[in-house]
Amino acid sequence: MPATPTSHALPGPMVSMRGITKAFPGVLANDGIDLDIYPSDVHALLGENGAGKSTLVKILYGFYRADSGSVLLNGQPVRIQSPADARKFQIGMVFQDFNLIPAFSVAENIALFLPDLKPVIHPKEIDHRIEEISTRYDLQVNPHALVSQLSIGEQQKVEILKLLLSNARLFILDEPTRVLAPHEIKALFGVLENLRKDGYAILLITHKLNEVLECADRISVLRTGRLAGTLTRREASEEKLIAFMFEKSLAGLNRHAHAAARSDRPPILRLTNIATHSLGAQVGLEDINLDIYPHEIVGVAGVSGNGQKELGDVILGLQKCSQGHKELFGQEATSWSIGRVRQSGVAFVPENPLQMAVTPYLSVLENMALTRSRLYARLGGLRVDWGAVQADARESFVRFGFSVPSLFVPVRSLSGGNLQRMTIARELAFDPKLIVGSYLTRGLDLQSTLSARQALLDARQAGAGILLISEDLEELFTLSDRLIVLSRGRIVGSFLPTETDNYTVGRLMTGAKV
């Protein structure tokens, strides 16, 4: 139940962090950070990848322990050593990749986090409590549904319900909008607004400026582990925030002159009536017809899990299609092996690089050679020319403007952003003719996002065809020459970016008729 909102003129901060410092091997993730979080306040934490946002909130939630610094709760110093402590102090957190158990029902997931859960569980009582709170905050979801059957937006509702029912007063949300469709983001902001009215404090991590300006009351910007500054909504502007986030100003994209001359050339990729079997909860593709021409970026919009992964997998040959034909560079390629597809000049950035693009325990250098081992093999495969691998790797990092900490550390130790940069550098290095990129800029900071987008535009200029799968509509509208929308494994819309807008695409993405 919401406590009485603090109504006096200047409420003190609910939680204060003072001088928070945390070092990981080789990185000073947080360096003397001060932060005040007020009740009835949406506080946005803004910053690039690796600026230290996640580390800071994980310290507040007791997931990490700070090397030095203190946390004050309503002015009293407290020690938060574990998530259990944080929950005791009414601090709750929604993690970036959520923390729900797919095999459990909604009710079980929520019960797991109830502080007053009795030793013997009465399912009806829990259902009742869920319904009460979900009606109040417009967070309706069926308590008996398995989480594995819920959409991402519904899962987020469950996460928020979980915090509400666990009596949290401070909600930490780590990039809550990352995977939501536009109308879901809108609904989320509505929920946050209601929470704010009821006196809850919300700490929101994001690196999307427009969202911050839309929903935050107070904005703190982190840069390389330090607090660059805190602004109230009234003081903040896009320029000011960017100035806080980056020392140097950003270069714009060079879109080149539009060189596409489509139908007079044969397509690089032609998919005809492609269908795949759906396994378990996966979506199967149905009736996919798609041509990609040289000098063309085809954007694929869709809520994740609607066949994007399958589309990429079919093109690369990771998944067999049950129907239809695939042609690459004018040749029948339906049954080509992955090796042959790659050799013909197809590059692939999968949606989950840590699982699909690299072997975590090998070094960066070894992973860079992984997809081109034949090129670097000497003496008929008895030796690998590591010198050449190194030279090529360094060259491609420079070319794309990426930096990676070291070529000799295991890939497992890289942050998500570095891993993504490494994968992009490897895949785009040898001027591929067809690029299949899934969520290419997911987890990248603004600077690297721009570099990656520029790399795609350059590849297009050089004649490559590109299939760009993304959930970031702004990215799709910026880069695509043509836009298709996937929903439940079908292409439900095909547009020129100039013909349509966010809301039309967003509605199609979620299966609604326009």
Partner: protein, 305 residues
């Protein structure tokens, strides 16, 4: 085949299935917390030999059961130390515990091979006492048999209707989530292994003190591994484990019946029937159904910084 023979198969299936079901229930709990205990065979052997030795020495089958149960819990704690605290690989640790238990049980049971013990008292099923003796003697059961189905229901209730069970299943699905909910995954895994070990000890006690009433080296003959397979067959559900244990034991009893009725098939071949059945079950149940294996089964929990 006569009615008596059929009833004999059923009775024998119930007897041999009881130890299997206790063991399977224990393994369901272990695996629900994310731990595959391949050392189960060794745990059973040590429990069985110790239980038998204590029964023989003290003359009390109840003290024997107690010793077997405690031995089961203790063996699982050793396994737990390896895979939880030392974070060793579960499969390798399990096999090590299996071989260790094999050797240790041979040592404990060495002087008890061929010994006779006071068996656990048996009671006729209520209402069957008026039947002719040949029938009623088939349905005289000890208290461990009467308790095994209620035990399965109790385990189901513990797993699905208590806070402890919810936390335990959460650890098996995602230990980080369980940690984030304020639980201690390592402690919960120890608890699961302890309960699992006590149940395995109960199974071993029934096998040696109530069913065979004898000790011989490697008498469990793969029951520990069969239990691991039965957990998969039962889809990690304690109630379905009842059916699984019964079907498997009926196969054992059936092949014994075939052997004793003088079927013209090599007894070695007949001996393989229950194991063939296990292989068949794994083939049929293998990968083509909705899997409900705990998501972090076999994964080591490393904790956080």
């Amino acid at each position: 085949m006569s009615l008596l023979a059929v009833l004999g198969v059923i009775s024998s299936a119930i007897y041999s299935g009881t130890s299997l079901l206790y063991t399977t229930l224990g393994e369901v709990i272990d695996e629900r917390a994310g731990i595959v205990n391949l050392g189960l065979e060794g745990v059973l052997l040590v429990s069985a030999s110790l239980g038998f030795a204590v029964t023989k020495t003290t003359g009390s089958p109840y003290l024997g059961i107690l010793a077997a149960v405690l031995a089961g819990g203790l063996m699982n704690m050793v396994f737990g130390y390896l895979v939880i605290t030392r974070q060793a690989n579960q499969l390798a640790s399990g096999l090590a515990v299996m071989f260790f238990g094999y050797g240790l049980s041979a040592l404990i049971g060495k002087s008890f091979v061929g010994a006779k013990i006071n068996p656990l008292p048996r009671y006729v099923l209520p209402g069957l006492s008026r039947l002719p003796l040949v029938f009623s003697s088939l349905f005289k059961f000890d208290f461990l048999i009467f308790l095994v189905v209620p035990m399965a229901v109790l385990i189901w209730w513990l797993l699905y209707r208590t806070r402890w069970g919810l936390g335990l299943r959460a650890v098996g699905e995602n230990a980080d989530t369980a940690f984030a909910s304020g639980r201690n995954p390592k402690r919960i895994r120890y608890q699961a292994l302890l309960v699992g070990g006590l149940l395995a000890g109960l199974g071993a006690a029934h096998l040696t003190i109530a069913y065979t009433m004898a000790w011989s080296e490697y008498m469990t003959a793969g029951r520990g591994f069969i239990a691991v397979a039965l957990v998969i067959f039962s889809n990690w559900d304690p109630l379905r484990a009842i059916a699984g244990a019964l079907i498997f034991s009926a196969a054992v009893a059936f092949q014994l019946l075939l052997q004793s009725s003088g079927a013209q098939v090599s007894p070695f071949l007949l001996n393989t029937i229950p194991y063939l059945l296990t292989i068949l079950v794994l083939i049929v149940w293998g990968g083509n159904r909705k899997q409900s294996a705990p998501a972090s089964l076999g994964r080591i929990y490393l904790g956080s910084e």
